[in-house]
Symmetry: C2
Subunit: 329 residues, 2 copies
DNA sequence: CTGAAAGCGCTAACAG
DNA sequence: CTGTTAGCGCTTTCAG
C-alpha cells in the first residue's frame, strides 16, 4: 500500500541506491538521471520513511520540547516560535507537558530522548543534577535556565526586575512586596538576585512573600498576604499570578493603582486587557524560542566546542497598574 | 555507545528474540527467563528503539495534532488534554502550528503522516476535500469539525449560541450583532445555524457583521462596526475577539454592559479577568482533547466500523458584560 | 556516475 | 518455551 523507494527505483529504471542519492545528495548523480528519479518520485507521491532513514543515519529529524504547563501562554509563546523555526529547518517537534512535576519530567525526557536528535528543556522546576542526567541522554538546550556545560538561552529576568524596582522607586514607593515563585525555579533565583541588587541600590523596604504557585490561584492567595504586609506596591512573579492578585484586590475593594500598585512579569497578550492594563516586563518569547532551536541545531553538529549561552534583554512595559503611592510621592 | 537488544540478550544469556518477547509479550516466556531479561535490561538502562520497532510493526507510538495557532489558549487547552491522555496511553505527540494557513496545513499533515499512527485535525479553516485527502494519508480524527466518514469530536457551538440569544432576549435585547469568524470555519457555520434557529424562535433583529479575524485585532475592528450598526448587544465569535471588542469600546468611552452588552465564546481562563468579567460560553476543551485521543486510539484498531461522532455539550456562563439594554427591558 | 550488498535495531514467522 | 532467520525502508560502503 505505502510506496517505497523500490517503487520509485523501478519506475525510474534505476537502483534504489540511485534514488536515495538523487534525494539526499543530488550532486552525486547525473542531472538527467536525477530529474528522472525526481519525476518518478512525485508521480508516485513518494515520501521517504523517516524512521527507516533514521535507523541508519542515526538522525530522526525530530526535536522535543518539554514544558511545565501548556495552559500557560508564556510557554506556548515559546512553543509557537520553536515549532515555526523547527518546521523551517524541516524538523518535526514533540511536545511534552510535565504538569510541573519533576518526576514526570524526567520520565518524559527519557521517553523522548530516543526518538529525537535533541531536546529543549523549558522547565523552571528541574534540578541541576537532573539536567546533567538528561544531557547524557540527548543533546540538550536549556530555556530560561543556565548551567555550565549545557547550552542555554535565557531571558534577563534579573534586569527586568531591576527595571521594575527603579520604576516603583521613581514613583515614590518605599515599601514593596515581591511575590516569590517556585523556590526551585532558576528564573525565580535570577529575579531575586536582580531584586537584591536593586534594593541595595535604592534603599527600599522589601517584603518577600511566598513562594506561591505561579498561577492565577497563587495570586489570589498572595494578594491577601501582601495587603496584610502593608506595602504600597506588589511585584508578582509573573503575569498570571498578577492577574490573580488584581482579581482578589478588586473583590476586596482595593483600588489599583490608587491604593496599591501591581506589576507582573512576561507581558502576556491577555495581561494588557485588564482595566487598568498591567504594568509588566516584556519577555522576548518568540526570539527565545527561535534562538533555542538555532542553538540546538548548531549544537548537534558541533563537538568539543564550549557550550554557548545567550542572554536576551527584557524591557519593562509601563501601563496603568502602577502609580505613586497613596500618601503622595 | 547506544545499547541495543543484542547487549541485553548477551547479558541475559538468551537470544534477541527472547528479549523482544519478554518485553512486548511477557506471557510468551517463562517467568524466570523474563525476570532475567528484565534485570539485564534495567541494569543496562536499555530503551528499545521505537523507530526500529515501528519499521516492522508499522506502528510508531506517535500521534500528531495540527492546530491553527498555538498562541490561542483555545487550542492549547485542547492540546494540553491531548498530550496528557496520549502520554497515559504511552503515545508521544507531535504538534504542528499551521498559522491559519491551509496550504501550510496540508504540507504539515503530509509531513507528519508518515511518522504517526494517527492524526488529530483541529483546524477550523481546512476544507472538506482537503480532509478527505488527509484521511487517505493517515487515520484521522477531526476536532470541532464534522464530516461524514471521518470520526470527529465536536463541541456544540450551535446550542451555545442559542443559549446566548435566549439570555440576551430574556434581558430585553431586540437588536443584536453577531461578529462572524472565518467564513470557512466549520465552527462558524455551526454557530450561524444555531443563531438562525434562535433568531427565528425569538423574533429579534440580527445584524451579522464580518467576517473578522478570530483574534484580538479582529475584535478591535469589529467594535466600531457594531457600534455603527446601532445594536444593544454584541456576540463575538470567540473570547479573544470579544476582548478586542471590550478594549475598543473602553477606548471609545462606551460602557459595558450599561450601553451595550458583549458576549464571547470559549470561556478562556483569561477572559474572566476583564472588568466586568465576560459573559461567554464554556467549551469542554479538556474533555474534547481527551475524547479525541480516545477516539483515535480506538479507531486505529478498528476496521469497517462506521466513523463515530460525538457532540459535547456547551454551557453559557453569565458574568458581568451582559445586562438589560439602555432603554430598559 | 551507478548498482549490489550489507546492515541500522527490532519483531515475526518458523522450527526445534 | 526459546533460538534462527528473514526482512521492515532506507543509506552507504565497495566495486564496477
Amino acid at each position: 500500500m505505502t510506496i517505497t523507494i523500490r517503487d520509485v527505483a523501478r519506475r525510474a529504471h534505476v537502483s534504489v541506491a540511485t534514488v536515495s542519492r538523487a534525494l539526499s545528495s543530488p550532486d552525486l548523480v547525473r542531472p538527467d538521471t536525477r530529474s528522472r528519479v525526481l519525476a518518478a518520485a512525485t508521480e508516485l507521491g513518494y515520501q521517504p520513511n523517516r524512521a527507516a532513514r533514521g535507523l541508519i543515519t542515526g538522525k530522526t529529524g525530530n526535536i522535543g520540547i518539554v514544558v511545565p504547563d501548556l495552559d500557560n501562554p508564556f510557554f506556548t509563546g515559546i512553543l509557537k516560535a520553536v515549532q515555526t523555526r523547527a518546521a523551517q529547518a524541516d524538523y518535526a517537534v514533540f511536545v511534552a507537558d510535565s504538569d510541573e512535576d519533576p518526576v514526570a519530567e524526567a520520565k518524559l525526557v527519557r521517553a523522548m530522548a530516543k526518538q529525537v536528535d535533541g531536546l529543549l528543556l523549558c522547565s523552571p522546576g528541574v534540578t541541576d543534577p537532573q539536567i546533567v542526567l538528561a544531557a547524557d541522554t540527548a543533546p540538550l538546550v536549556l530555556l530560561n535556565h543556565r548551567l555550565a556545560g549545557v547550552p542555554s538561552t535565557v531571558m534577563d529576568g534579573a534586569d527586568g526586575l531591576r527595571q521594575v524596582v527603579a520604576h516603583l522607586v521613581a514613583l515614590g514607593h518605599s515599601r514593596i512586596a515581591y511575590l516569590t515563585g517556585p523556590r526551585t525555579a532558576w528564573a525565580n533565583s535570577e529575579r531575586r538576585r536582580g531584586l537584591a541588587a536593586a534594593v541595595a541600590d535604592h534603599r527600599v523596604d522589601l517584603v518577600e512573600l511566598g513562594p506561591f504557585a505561579p498561577r492565577y490561584e497563587g495570586g489570589l492567595q498572595a494578594a491577601d498576604l501582601a495587603l496584610a504586609a502593608d506595602v504600597t506596591a506588589i511585584m508578582a512573579y509573573n503575569d498570571v499570578m498578577a492577574l490573580g492578585v488584581l482579581a482578589r484586590l478588586r473583590d476586596r475593594g482595593v483600588s489599583v493603582p490608587d491604593d496599591v500598585s501591581v506589576t507582573g512579569f512576561d507581558d502576556l497578550t491577555y495581561a494588557s486587557l485588564t482595566a487598568p492594563a498591567l504594568t509588566t516586563v516584556a519577555m522576548p518569547l518568540a526570539t527565545a524560542g527561535r534562538t533555542a532551536v538555532n542553538m540546538l541545531l548548531d549544537w548537534l553538529d558541533t563537538t568539543g566546542e564550549p557550550a554557548p549561552h545567550i542572554t536576551l534583554p527584557t524591557q519593562i512595559i509601563v501601563r496603568g497598574t502602577t502609580a505613586p503611592p497613596p500618601g503622595g510621592a
